[in-house]
């Protein structure tokens, strides 16, 4: 039994976090609703979590969000950093039951992925982020729960649409197991 993270996981965390930083800064597109953006970075975080598992997802969320806040906004907002980590962690648990590397991503996997991502985003943005905002920054609860609700809802929709699209596109690039057929 090997100890610690495998090499590919270490590199995936590094590159994934760098992607999180860039998409978190440049990858948000207007949704049409006021003050709500489609944060494409969470769709990509979900994809990486499904590809590389819960630990990678957790660390990509934590490292990526910390670096993004630090480099572009001057100081990390830890309550939301932790929430991003939780999203990566929980979505990563889907990795076990979805064998995306074998190109398997049909209706059943789509439903499973979306159930898990809704759970992940709900826990992170409706509970963890606002509660930590209150504990760490002593902000008014109405404000932080409203913010969490908006962010969570928009992330759930983003991952449901864009995340699913990306996973479908990725699955197509992989060769299915047992896809060879004998020519008559």
């Amino acid at each position: 039994m090997r100890k610690g993270l495998s090499i590919i996981t270490v590199v995936a965390i590094g590159i994934g976090a760098a992607l999180f930083v860039i998409l978190g800064r440049f990858g948000s597109i207007p949704s049409g609703l006021p003050d709500t953006n489609i944060e494409t970075t969470y769709a990509v975080l979900s994809l990486f979590s499904v590809l590389y598992g819960p630990i990678a997802g957790l660390l990509i969320g934590l490292i990526g969000h910390t670096l993004k806040d630090a480099i572009f906004y001057g100081s990390p907002w830890f309550s939301w950093v932790i929430a991003s980590g939780v999203v990566g962690l929980v979505v990563g648990f889907a990795a076990r039951s979805i064998r995306i590397h074998d190109g398997e991503f049909g209706a059943k996997q789509i439903v499973r992925f979306n159930l898990i991502q809704i759970l992940a985003n709900a826990v992170a943005w409706f509970v963890i982020a606002p509660v930590l905002d209150i504990l760490i920054y002593a902000e008014p609860s109405d404000k932080v729960f409203t913010q969490g609700l908006v962010a969570g809802a928009s992330n759930i929709v983003t991952v449901a649409v864009l995340g699913t699209l990306l996973l479908l596109a990725y699955a197509k690039t992989r060769t299915k197991q047992g896809s060879l057929t004998k020519e008559a």
């Binding site: 270490v10 990858g27 001057g74 990390p76 902000e139």
Partner: protein, 279 residues
């Protein structure tokens, strides 16, 4: 579309000379202290200390001015949001109500609310200078070594180091891909309908993700060939031994932490109350 980032510049100052590990510990303890305390005196003292550190470090204003404006803007928004959602939060915390003037409905301006929001503001002003200073004066390649030094597993430290190394590369890829997509008429702005916009975004994301996955394969193959992860520990080219100044800095931060906790909790409340109770 060139975005400004906070980057390290090599300068000669006592702050720059401190080892990365000490700066990391200092910043972490400083943030924890500022997070816990709501004591105005402690926050004010820390804020002033931060300003002095800035002066000593000789970092140039133009290196961080753009971030400062951004932060001030967000802080203003945040202050407005706090007031709109909870105009009586201060009254709840300090237990008294001294009204200054009344606006409309439940919105009045009390001295307690003003004091509470002043404290929130002060909290940011204590953390932000240190965060900026840490980013502006720490060599990124020394940073991974520092993380490992303070007890983070070297694999994770290495992952952080990879992330910092590849941020500029991925930024370049992202811009190249999105310009190429735009040249082909793929529009991601508000002019396009929402459904089409999302489809267009995935047209940019997919090549970016696939090149990134390829990069992961290449880099991990290279590391595998060099037997990364074979040993239980790892040495770092950029690691430096602690000097006198480093121990002095550690002593200062421990003193600040202890002093602030004592000041904050000696009366049993996290908040410093300047209002007299009329009970």
């Amino acid at each position: 579309m060139k975005a400004k980032m906070l980057t390290y510049t090599r300068l000669e100052s006592p702050i720059h000379r401190l080892t990365g590990a000490v700066k990391l510990i200092f910043f972490a303890l400083w943030s924890v202290t500022a997070m816990i305390t709501y004591d105005t005196r402690s926050l004010l003292a820390m804020f002033l200390f931060g300003l002095v550190m800035f002066k000593i470090s000789k970092v140039k204003f133009r290196d961080y001015s753009f971030v400062l404006y951004l932060i001030l803007f967000f802080m203003l928004l945040n202050q407005l949001a706090v007031y709109l959602f909870s105009p009586a939060e201060g009254v709840k915390i300090y237990g008294t109500s001294h009204e200054w003037f009344h606006i409309a409905g439940r919105y009045n301006v009390t001295w307690e609310q003003l004091f509470y929001q002043f404290n929130i503001l002060l909290k940011y002003f204590t953390v932000i200078p240190m965060a900026l200073l840490f980013l502006l004066t720490t060599d990124p390649s020394e940073f991974a070594a520092s993380l490992n030094r303070v007890g983070v597993s070297y694999r994770i430290a290495y992952a952080v180091s990879i992330a910092m190394r590849y941020i500029p590369d991925i930024q370049r890829d992202f811009h190249n891909i999105s310009f190429a997509a735009q040249a082909r008429g793929i529009d991601m702005s508000k002019k396009e309908k929402l459904g089409a916009r999302i489809k267009n975004v995935s047209a940019v994301l997919m090549p970016l993700i696939l090149t990134s996955l390829q990069r992961i394969e290449t880099v991990s193959a290279a590391m595998e060939l060099r037997a990364f992860g074979h040993g239980r520990t790892r040495t770092w080219y950029n690691a430096r031994p602690f000097g006198k100044a480093d121990f002095a800095a550690l002593a200062i931060i421990v003193a600040i932490l202890a002093g602030s906790m004592l000041l904050t909790f000696h009366d049993g409340s996290r908040f410093y109350n300047i209002f007299e109770r009329t009970e």
